[in-house]
């Protein structure tokens, strides 16, 4: 257990520091966040064509309301938590990679729901938007990570380990 906690905290802090590192943030995180904004708008325009995206900003061209997707709202931190947990837990690298890829997708599905829901909540009631943005959605995203990790643990608990495969 101590080994798991040690590796988890080490990977968590290392990846988080890497995310905050200027060139990584500019070259990887910000373009990814911009992509999320574009993807969100693409989804929204399936049922609402008055929305536009530029950079990390999603804007309603009629009402003028806009949201900017910032650090903490792009699912990167949640993905880092998942990666740290998956890497820290004993499994084959194929299992770990699959968990990270599927988990990343699960987190981003929830994150797109967050972005789109907040965009409309903000137009409806700014106090509700603020409350749900600051306190509820971070909890829901972390619950998403927890569920993905528990499902992953349940999956690998019935899979043969490296040693069993070798023998």
């Amino acid at each position: 257990m101590a080994r798991f906690i040690g590796i988890f905290l080490f990977v968590l802090l290392a990846l988080f520091s890497l995310e905050m590192f200027g060139p990584v943030h500019e070259q990887v995180v910000e373009p990814f966040t911009g992509f999320l904004a574009t993807l969100s708008v693409w989804i929204i325009t399936l049922f609402d064509d008055s929305v536009i995206a530029y950079g990390r900003v999603i804007r309603d061209s009629v009402g003028g309301f806009a949201v900017s997707i910032e650090s903490g709202c792009n699912g990167v931190e949640a993905t880092i938590v998942l990666i740290a947990a998956v890497v820290a837990f004993p499994a084959t690298w194929r299992q770990r990679l699959a968990a990270i890829v599927i988990g990343f997708l699960a987190i981003q599905v929830a994150n797109l729901a967050r972005i789109i829901s907040l965009f409309y909540l903000g137009q409806w009631n700014f106090d509700v938007f603020t409350w749900i943005h600051l306190y509820l959605w971070p909890v829901l995203i972390m619950l998403d990570v927890l569920i993905v990790f528990i499902v992953y643990l349940r999956y690998i608990s019935v899979q043969p380990t490296d040693g069993e495969l070798a023998s």
Partner: protein, 210 residues
């Protein structure tokens, strides 16, 4: 049988996970409903302790840290005169930085929901011990937010006389506000639930490696 009881190897009791998640959602409603009116009271001891720590270690910078509702006000010994940071006596007023304690304390209702959705044992005692751990992190978070406010608000006046590099302050602030509030409740809950049937069964094949 516990709600956290694990699946058998064929996954036949898989819905138990959904039941646990459902219970977490159900417990989140009263937890957050109680947290909203109580959050100022919950933050007060942490703000007081943070005030003691900051005024002890940064007596020349921090005047006091006070709480007004859920807003904390970090008052400094500095003011601004002709666009320059000068002593408060010279400026005639004190620069102060407000911030919202709820961005840190929402970990408590989240943890309450996780804890009470996990049956078994002394649930109140477990919750009290877990909350205490989160409280320590809350104080660390308040210190991180305060240092970031001082760094950005006072600039070189603060940084030049402070031994911790700006990068460390920035990362600790981001970590304390983005990572810790949603993650710490899960970690505390997982540690306290490590002997629960769910985690025991999930770890059974891997426990030698752990």
């Amino acid at each position: 049988m516990s709600d956290l009881d694990a699946s058998t190897n064929d996954g036949s009791s898989a819905p138990k996970l959904y039941r646990f998640v459902g219970l977490v959602f159900i417990w989140m409603v009263p937890s957050f409903a109680l947290w909203v009116p109580l959050s100022a009271m919950l933050a007060a001891p942490a703000v007081w302790l943070t005030n003691v720590i900051l005024t002890y270690f940064l007596p020349d910078v921090v005047h006091e840290l006070t709480l007004n509702g859920t807003q904390t006000l970090l008052t400094t010994h500095f003011g601004e005169l002709n666009s320059e940071i000068v002593s408060a006596r010279l400026a005639g007023y004190r620069i102060a930085f407000p911030f919202n304690t709820q961005i840190l304390t929402y970990s408590l209702p989240f943890y309450a929901a996780l804890s009470y959705a996990t049956p078994g044992g002394d649930s109140f005692g477990r919750f009290a011990r877990g909350s205490l751990a989160l409280y320590v992190l809350l104080i660390v978070g308040l210190i991180s937010v305060s240092l970031k406010s001082l760094m950005l608000g006072l600039g070189p006046v603060f940084i030049d006389g402070f031994s911790t590099p700006a990068t460390i302050i920035g990362i600790s602030y981001q970590f304390s506000t983005l990572m810790v509030p949603p993650l710490a409740p899960v970690l505390v809950w997982a540690w306290q639930s490590r002997h629960s049937p769910l985690l025991q069964k999930l770890l059974v094949k891997q426990q030698d490696k752990l």
